[in-house]
Symmetry: D2
Amino acid sequence: MSGSLNKVMLIGNLGDDVKMHYFEGGGCIGRFPIATSETYTSKQTNERITNTEWHNIVVRNKGAEICEKYLSKGDKVYIEGRLKTRKWTDDKGNDRYSTEIQCNDFTFLSTKKESANNASNAESPAAQKPAENPQPSSQPIAEDNDDLPF
Amino acid sequence: MSGSLNKVMLIGNLGDDVKMHYFEGGGCIGRFPIATSETYTSKQTNERITNTEWHNIVVRNKGAEICEKYLSKGDKVYIEGRLKTRKWTDDKGNDRYSTEIQCNDFTFLSTKKESANNASNAESPAAQKPAENPQPSSQPIAEDNDDLPF
Amino acid sequence: MSGSLNKVMLIGNLGDDVKMHYFEGGGCIGRFPIATSETYTSKQTNERITNTEWHNIVVRNKGAEICEKYLSKGDKVYIEGRLKTRKWTDDKGNDRYSTEIQCNDFTFLSTKKESANNASNAESPAAQKPAENPQPSSQPIAEDNDDLPF
Amino acid sequence: MSGSLNKVMLIGNLGDDVKMHYFEGGGCIGRFPIATSETYTSKQTNERITNTEWHNIVVRNKGAEICEKYLSKGDKVYIEGRLKTRKWTDDKGNDRYSTEIQCNDFTFLSTKKESANNASNAESPAAQKPAENPQPSSQPIAEDNDDLPF
DNA sequence: TTTT
DNA sequence: TTTT
């Protein structure tokens, strides 16, 4: 379709480590869940209610490798991407649907692993070579635009 | 959780009319699908490939009523909202998940029905009373912030 | 800095045609203003107030050429980009600042000129060759990522 | 205008503390600068180049008070708002323009001051009463929707 | 003026 | 399954 926009922007925490999948052609994807939540005060009961939402993030190629290297369970991250609902068939032959965020940009807002200080845009070689003197800090990293069909 | 963001922004076309559901307490929701798509040229075959993605939009209360009044199948709309994955049980007792966009802001980019020209923010009474002299144009409308749990 | 995001998203109408500037090295930029506005009802006077905001859009290279080809004064467009404030010196020697949106993605929501139907991502050659049978419709087009310092 | 969107989303660090301005009617605004930057590798010289951009943030009423309470120079924050260019006259009588981000949502991604733990949406009373046992952490806070014309 |  |  023309004149269309499909954009998701999330800030949340990883519920698990990045799981990598490597393909024969040399490509790879990384998957991880992130949680967002909002807290509000119920008008009825006047108590604080927290609502957590889970999102399945999928990153490709260089971006996936950078995420795997620097992100781990619990880290906070900014994710930008597209919504994609995959159709699959369960073991009973039923059509099933799963909605994912195909991540095409991300920024680390905290990292537990060795720091990716000075690491930056995934398109540049520097992104693969983080700072000599790692510090516990955050960094912006964008992923590549390769055409892996996932 | 704190420090979290859950935002979806879409521009797409309605795949169907707005379906309304009214609740006993006086609230209501409207549901409609919108399609986004992107077209790219395959690196392998060099042919143009169009990928359409469908999104389930849910709007509440006044916003739902405005959407129902002015939007119909085929119209183009800007949608802003939150991702929410609902869990439900199918007739065989399996857990099933459905991801929706809880819309909290929208802007009409084309309308087939009578125009909502001059209609605007849903929080203002004027939003309910579109222009006397309707024109085939677009309009920005935001929905209310009521606390309907859907 | 790391961990940073600079994103602007606009839907508005061109206040003027695209003005092109060509550079010796072969690069070019296109500039055009777009207007956004919101209408609200004054709490004091109860009258409808419309507030128009003007934004200076700057697009580069292939994206600029596509905008010039298909956009003209009055057209509606979705613009995504970064905020950049340029410093310049006026004829009296005063420091002056001008804030622009460096556009890195756009989608046509209406066009008056010949249609760019089927035109799409600027990175592909097809974006330069719109459909044989033009129709008055909209189309999504992204610009390139070249490194023109403007 | 109808069919319009004016949205800015930033993640950056405060370059200075929040400056408050109180009005006679009881309203107030807070102002602070935030820096975003991107680092890339120059194609010509192959050196790392960092580009910092400064943004003037304006927050109103309750949101301003929450920002003043919890944010200080150096803190990282997510800001969402609208672009607004103000016109003013300098001491020589020249027209001058200044572009600001009218913030209508924000999320703390780090805070140096006493923590706003459990503090949340500014519309709820709880947002004004942070946790008894402050911790150095982040929190999401949205501002109110009052109609202060700034 | 921030941050890494 | 995260985080506060």
